[in-house]
């Protein structure tokens, strides 16, 4: 399985190799997502698989998905154990386990300010943000459409503040996760989401969130995978003016981790903060394609994407920022920083700024470096061994992203897990 990752640039496998048999394992469309399932399965049959001939998929090898021979949501003991081993929820936080099969709200009393959306609201809201951010027909989204049988659809009511913890652990097969979050005016939501894949498997995450005026969302994603596991994630946001969104995503250990944060500031005047940290080792691939569009004036974006690449790991970052004519006085900054720990690791980083408005500030930058000799020597000259010094410096590099994770996500010790899983020095 891993060997198939060694052919970057080759065309991905043909659809017939696994897709039809996999689609055949899916239960007949039913439930609140019936229409979505029908749509997704049709799309998968009609759309070609992403191929390395497409610019957006040039370096992304989907071979790992060939293993999806089992029914969605099939869990195993290792996955259950890894979820059970977590520290207890933070005080005041509601923890929900998303296993792709059962209703995550069954038997749960929702705190004040948090409501489940009714079928009518789901019908109106589901897919809206995916369409608005231009990704509803993306192949990974259609994969999720085809497979997802459950949905977590929640509303945070006006002026309320809610903390959620969402935990998912993948077993064999695909674990599809579908979320729809609606934040009313001045609502505040902190979501800490943990995705685990202790063995071979795959997770497909599609999250849509709509932030009304002055709403605040803080989403911290910690995704710890396995060299034979794949993660495909779309995080789509619509922001009304004066809202604030902070998306922080940390991933490590996945054979393939592809994350696509997509943000639309529907009328500008909102604040978006994106933080990303991806760690690759062995032959792993981490691929982030972000897309932020300002459809109005005075929007703000602060984006920092960091990568630690060891072994023969490969990291791809493509950061698209769209500033049309109506988005005057946009203030956007994007920085990509990569730490290269091996001669054989590869980093591909590309800002993609499309600026039509003439009164804007849009800064971007990219750095790729290895550990600094002077920093290593300074630590060594204080008695700290070379390996420990390197580890301290790697941790320091990651810390800039990790420190913006909410406290509870930090308590999941992502960095220790990153270093343990990836065998970083």
């Amino acid at each position: 399985m891993t060997a198939s990752l060694s052919a970057p640039g080759s065309s991905v496998m043909g659809r017939s190799a696994w897709l039809e048999p996999w689609l055949a394992t899916l239960p007949a469309p039913s439930g609140p997502l019936e229409a979505v399932q029908v749509r997704g399965r049709r799309a998968l049959r009609e759309q070609p698989l992403p191929s390395s001939r497409q610019e957006d998929w040039r370096f992304t090898d989907l071979s790992l998905l060939q293993q999806l021979q089992q029914a969605p949501g099939a869990g195993d003991a290792a996955a259950a154990a890894s979820a059970a081993a977590l520290p207890p929820p933070a005080p005041g936080a509601l923890r929900l386990v998303l296993d792709g099969r059962s209703d995550p709200l069954a038997g749960v009393t929702l705190p004040e300010g948090l409501q489940a959306l009714n079928p009518l609201e789901i019908g109106q809201g589901l897919g809206h943000t995916l369409a608005a951010t231009g990704c509803e027909q993306h192949w990974p989204v259609e994969l999720n459409h085809a497979a997802a049988g459950t949905l977590l659809a929640l509303r945070v009511t006006a002026r309320h503040s809610v903390r959620l913890e969402l935990v998912s652990a993948a077993g064999a097969g695909l674990l599809p996760l579908r979320l729809l979050l609606v934040l009313e005016e001045k609502a505040e939501l902190e979501v800490n989401q943990l995705l685990l894949a202790p063995g071979p498997g795959a997770i497909s995450l599609v999250l849509e969130a709509h932030l009304a005026r002055s709403a605040r969302l803080h989403h911290g994603l910690v995704a710890l995978g396995h060299p034979e596991a794949a993660l495909l994630g779309h995080l789509a946001l619509e922001q009304e003016p004066e809202s604030s969104a902070n998306l922080t995503a940390v991933s490590a250990g996945w054979g393939l981790a592809r994350l696509e944060p997509r943000v639309l500031q529907v009328d500008g005047q909102a604040v978006t903060t994106l933080r990303g940290l991806q760690v690759v080792d062995g032959r792993q691939i981490a691929d982030t394609h972000s897309h932020v569009r300002f459809n109005g004036p005075e929007g703000q974006l602060d984006q920092l994407h960091k990568v630690v690449a060891a072994g023969q790991g490969r990291s791809v970052f493509n950061g698209a920022v769209r500033v049309p004519r109506e988005a005057q006085r946009t203030n956007a900054a994007q920085l990509s920083r990569s730490l290269l720990l091996s001669d054989r690791a590869r980093i591909d980083t590309k800002p993609e700024l499309e600026i039509v408005a003439d009164d804007v500030k849009c800064a971007h930058g990219a750095t790729v470096s290895s550990l600094q000799t002077d920093e290593l020597f300074y630590l060594q000259s204080r008695g700290i061994g070379a390996d420990q010094a390197a580890q301290l410096l790697q941790r320091a590099f990651c810390e800039e992203v990790l420190r913006v994770l909410p406290a509870v996500a930090r308590a999941w010790c992502p960095l220790e897990a990153l270093q343990r899983q990836d065998g970083l020095a």
């Binding site: 920093e375 630590l379 060594q380 000259s381 204080r382 008695g383 061994g385 301290l392």
Partner: protein, 271 residues
């Protein structure tokens, strides 16, 4: 404090070193005994800082000849971290900023590495905090600096104080302070020099590398060495530093030319 029967801590013999293809040290000789304070002075490019980095084991420098023994053992075969653990300390001219590494954690890891070598118990977080708060007094540092990243955003004076704080925690046997006075205003110089004086004792030794006499007003050296062209040209008492201050370094060039013409590489003792 000179005591002829004090044990030799550092013995440098005909030390030669280069960086890339450029020879910098061309035969340095120096003996440092317990209880002594040595000052090494010289122009820019004379090899002073290279000497300090070679002693600490900087990987950019290659030793091409000579020897350095530390308490009788070959220092040059040790990694930088091993040298530090056994008591060799380099105070950096330009302390490195390391964003993301907490100063407190850095100090604790370093202190425990040294303690482990000495056979002492490692300090846990709480015990270390007690120790570090006590040692902060040596350099009159605000405890808030412990919470920041190593040297990040520190002023020049704060960085040098942080160096002396590390020295206070690591309790080195031989401390090499590379231009510790550079970039310090008078108050900071007084505090840093006061710290060095407090830490100097009969069982350790200090090697001060400096351009200027002003540091030596605050820290009285037992020996002053003048470096030029990669070797120690003259050795004397503290009055040699005063002479340098008055006469500048031009005479050093003249002496160097004369000595090189005569093929002599022996340092000149004065005083």
């Amino acid at each position: 404090m000179i005591r002829s029967d004090a044990p030799v801590l550092l013995e440098i013999r005909d030390l030669q070193a280069r960086v890339e293809d450029k020879a910098i040290l061309k035969g340095v000789n120096l003996t440092v005994r317990a209880g002594e304070i040595h000052a090494v002075m010289g122009r820019n490019g004379s090899g002073k800082s290279t000497l300090s980095k070679v002693l600490a084991g900087h990987p950019a420098y290659t030793v091409t000849g000579g020897s350095v023994t530390y308490r009788g053992d070959n220092l040059l075969e040790l990694d930088p971290e091993q040298r530090a653990r056994i008591g060799v300390f380099l105070g950096f001219q330009y302390p490195v900023e390391i964003p993301g590494v907490s100063n407190l954690e850095f100090l604790r890891v370093a202190t425990n590495a040294r303690r482990g070598e000495k056979g002492e118990e490692e300090l846990d977080t709480f015990a270390f905090e007690d120790l570090v708060r006590e040692r902060l007094k040596v350099v009159q540092m605000d405890p808030a600096f412990l919470e920041r990243s190593v040297n990040e955003g520190f002023s020049g004076g704060e960085k040098k104080r942080n160096e002396i704080l590390q020295m206070a925690l690591l309790e080195p046997v031989v401390a090499i302070l590379d231009e510790t006075d550079s970039g310090l205003d008078i108050d900071a110089l007084r505090i840093v020099a006061g710290g060095v004086n407090q830490l100097a004792g009969p069982d350790n030794a200090t090697l001060l590398i400096t351009h200027y006499q002003r540091l030596l007003d605050a820290i009285t050296p037992d020996y002053v060495h003048v470096m030029a062209a990669g070797r120690i040209l003259r050795t004397g008492g503290k009055e040699l530093a005063l002479e340098l201050e008055q006469r500048g370094y031009d005479w050093v060039d003249e002496e160097l030319a004369a000595l090189e013409a005569a093929g002599d590489r022996t340092p000149v003792e004065v005083g």
